[in-house]
Amino acid sequence: MKRNTLTLLAAGVIAASSWIPVAQAEDSMYMPSMTYRTGPFAGGGTPFADGYADYFNMLNERDGGINGVKIVVDECETAYNTQKGVECYESTKGNGALAYSPLSTGITLALIPKAPVDQIPVFSMGYGLSAAAAGEQFPWAFVYPASYWSQLSSILKYIDSNGGIEGKKIGFIYLDVGYGKEPIPLLDQLSESMGFSVAKFPVGVKEMQNQGSQWLNVRKERPDWMIMWGWGAMNPTAIKEAAKIRFPLDRFIGNWWAGSHSDLKAVGESGKGYLAANFSGIGQDFGAVQDILKYVVNEGKSKVGSPDDVGNVLYNRGMFNAVVLAEAIKVAQDTTGKTIIDGADMRDGLEAINLDQARLTELGLEGFTGDVQGSCSDHEGNGSIFIQQWSGSDWEKISDLIPPMTDVVRPMLEEAAESYVSDKPDWKGQACS
């Protein structure tokens, strides 16, 4: 009897597997989505993945795709794990993938060398390798709308315009991995030229939720401002600790991965006043977001938990990721004249992207972000950031757009790019005139 069931089961599996549906209609393009809806960082990964998928689905529903070609969004679960991410990449790259947004520094670093070989661009939006902003050395990697270094320079400008930075002491609390350490060279350099001092407080991955000793040191050092490069459980813990030692929260600025709704919901009222950098607009008051609600969420075609989650910080950022990719597809279609493009066309499209305010308004994203304009040599698009503040229950935008200090950051980015390729004799850059 038992054997019979097993045989039946096996026969069923074989029968089912022989019937492979045509997953892709001929007039569609394939867009992989690396997500982490599981694992320790799922709280941040889920809204991002929802925003990403919903925007493409909205285009499919509202406009019938981009220039009439539907976009097939295929999710692959990485759980923020580099090994799974690489496996995702290898298993989906053959499906005609147009671009990868790995959503993890580790996966980005693993994919950057593969991109030129497989001819599929890597779009790490505001994360990954800062040096990838130098398009001459990294033809296949993009970090629109700004690299980590540009972001830090904008944050420092904000501090400077709020009471001056000269002679002040800046505390820098960071996750003690590659991601958190990346801005340190720039911080050290700017501390000399702008005349402030720096105190660094590393937080190990295992101490993310136990930062008592770091904040004891903060109390000892008495910095005037604090800047945080955190992620996941580190963020709410740090804000709670800061509130506990009565550090003025309106002088505590998180980077754009330390300022989402999921970070601050856990803190609530006691996090009132906390600041964070951001580059993607907040809330549902954008035409594109309203269209997503109308065509996707209210139709029950979204995975988002409740319609209220649409418009939160990470949802909108995931959506913006899709906006940039969709725009690049459109640019590539317009310049090549093809409706179905490949990875190489996509790369050209990403490079020629020009999201100015007029175009953003057309897309229903007026004032959503600063102008993003790519070029052969500029793969971070010279985007700007703004500062937002936690009101105790929601984020509010409190500053205008702050452009980065390109004059300082750009030479450092180029230097970093040079050193990245220096030990790779066969690395292929591109010549930009």
Partner: protein
Amino acid sequence: MLYREAGQFKTSYAADQAMLPILQDRIGILVILLVAFVGIPVFATDFFMGSIMIPFLVFALAAVGLNILTGYAGQLSLGTGAFMGVGAYSCYKITTLFPDTNIIIAILLSGVFSAIIGVIFGLPSLRIKGLYLAITTLAAQFFLEWCFIRIGWLYNYNDSGAIEVPQRKIFDIAVTGASATPMVRYLVIVSIVAVLSLVAANVLRGRIGRSWMMIRDMDIAAELMGIRPLYAKLSAFAFSSYYCGVAGALMVFMWLGSAEVEAFDINHSFLVLFMVIIGGMGSILGCFLGAAFIWVLPIVMRGLPSLMGLDILAATTEHITNIVIGVLIIFFLIVEPHGLARLWQIGKEKLRSWPFPYASS
């Protein structure tokens, strides 16, 4: 009927002491090697080689390393991930300091550094045993991770803090780096793993391996019979760490292409430990079975829904996979606490008497 050694007479001591005394086993191994070296490279897709076979072989090698220490010498270790990291970082340093070194030599050499570190952290094993030793190896794990983050020299002070694999060629064929084809990388890795497994199997059934097993089974008795615990335990640590180090170097250079510290964290150590436990402590075959179970099975399960034409969310598949693998681990540990290798052994014994079993056990 097919699997029976009746009629296979040994006429010399050498034949009697052979690693595989039964003809059918020798044929079996030959078939496996033929499939691994010829069949897979000729017929398999790039994805199968690059994302299934290469990680599987890397983990199998790491599991062999841990099994030497834990399964054969009885010293519980939670530092596998860090020892793999030592191998990866030393290989990176070797190949960037001496770019002309043959990359395979660099990989094999990097295990030596790992072995040295392993011996140093193995010293406490002379005084402490069991779970207490596990805690000191845990200290090794955390200390080495700290080194990988804090000592900039190890990653050549680059801004990302990660090690990036440079391209290296042998006879003008790219072996590492992004342009190395999965087939080349697979062939390199399968050769290294085959040779090292053969070495391990022979060391384990020789004098050194037997001394490890004596230490494992009863260290006082072993000492009374003339085994020096110092040499036995430290050589087990050295051998084990060498294998883990080579596996770590292969993981970064032949598979991932770049690695941050998180690639060698404590979860990684647990993963390899689970492979050893599921596969079977004290069995080389078990290492391969355990690695296949823990690494390959989830990939197959993740691919099933789309293969069957079901439209299930990727995250849901991931949750289901985690649940099923967890349940299977518990199931196997209840049904056969000695691991998959023991199941295979039972199967072989049954096969010997098939189709006329004389005992009803």
